[in-house]
Assembly symmetry: C2
Homo-oligomer: 128 residues x 2
DNA sequence: TATTGACTTGGAGTGAACTCCAGGTAGTAT
DNA sequence: ATACTACCTGGAGTTCACTCCAAGTCAATA
């Protein structure tokens, strides 16, 4: 699979894909004899993983560390598990914040809907 | 309330609070005769709102726009509602991504726990 | 009143994560 | 063989959201 196809598949730019490889967010991608990237299923699995993790705010640095450990083999199993658990803690924290914010937004919006119907906007002090 | 107290209350730095005010993420804060910030309950409500929204990734630019509209008065009710709805769409999108990532992390971690017990790590192609 | 420590401003600097660019090569169609 | 397009690299530039700094002011204490 060419870089063009992969970046379309995941809605990334080619620059981002090359950047991920360059810094080690994904391992080095398979190439043709000419040196052109030819993504294997495994390469694509790494990209998919990176995209998923990044979309939840897992830092690039953490993904690099995971790939680094992965390449060291089985003796890093525990270290990788610990890294994933650490990532999960962070993602869960953010998830909680997003839920809180959704509640606030829902409340605010309901107040605005009310105001747009009645012409009266009633606020508690804390609703800005 | 002094800037020190407010930034402790919300775990922000003084620089961040001043920055928020400067760029308009919150309206101008009440001051003493000497020019020192003295946050009223209303100022604090704005800070709380900003912190909540920012923690869910709502862009600074959007908060600035909201404050700008707010100060224009009742004729911007609809515009503010629309802005909040727009923010909610984005937050919900991210929320979904975070949930997806949590599932992936849970799955990966369970695989690692398994591997650490049995000594065997079994991957599908897509689990990296 | 002098010192001390917290506060003020405008503006420059930083870190993370891309994003863009110039100059060059690969591969395909004519 | 030539043109043309897609891809390559190293490195510089950009954006966002802070974060830091220098030089000055305020306010409480000795």
């Amino acid at each position: 699979m060419t870089i063009k196809e992969v970046c379309e598949k995941f809605s990334l730019t080619q620059d981002t894909l090359r950047y991920y490889e360059r810094v080690g967010v994904i391992p080095e991608v398979n190439r043709t004899k000419g040196g052109i990237r030819d993504y294997t299923d495994e390469d694509i699995a790494w990209v998919e993983n990176a995209v998923c993790m990044r979309s939840a705010g897992v830092p690039v640095e953490m993904l690099i560390e995971y790939v680094r450990l992965f390449r060291e083999g089985d003796e890093t199993l525990k270290a990788r598990r610990d890294l994933l658990v650490e990532a999960r803690v962070e993602v869960q924290k953010n998830l909680d914040k997003y839920l809180t914010t959704m509640e606030r937004l829902n409340y605010k919006i309901s107040r605005y809907e009310e105001a747009l119907k009645t012409g009266v906007l009633t606020w508690d002090v804390e609703d800005k």
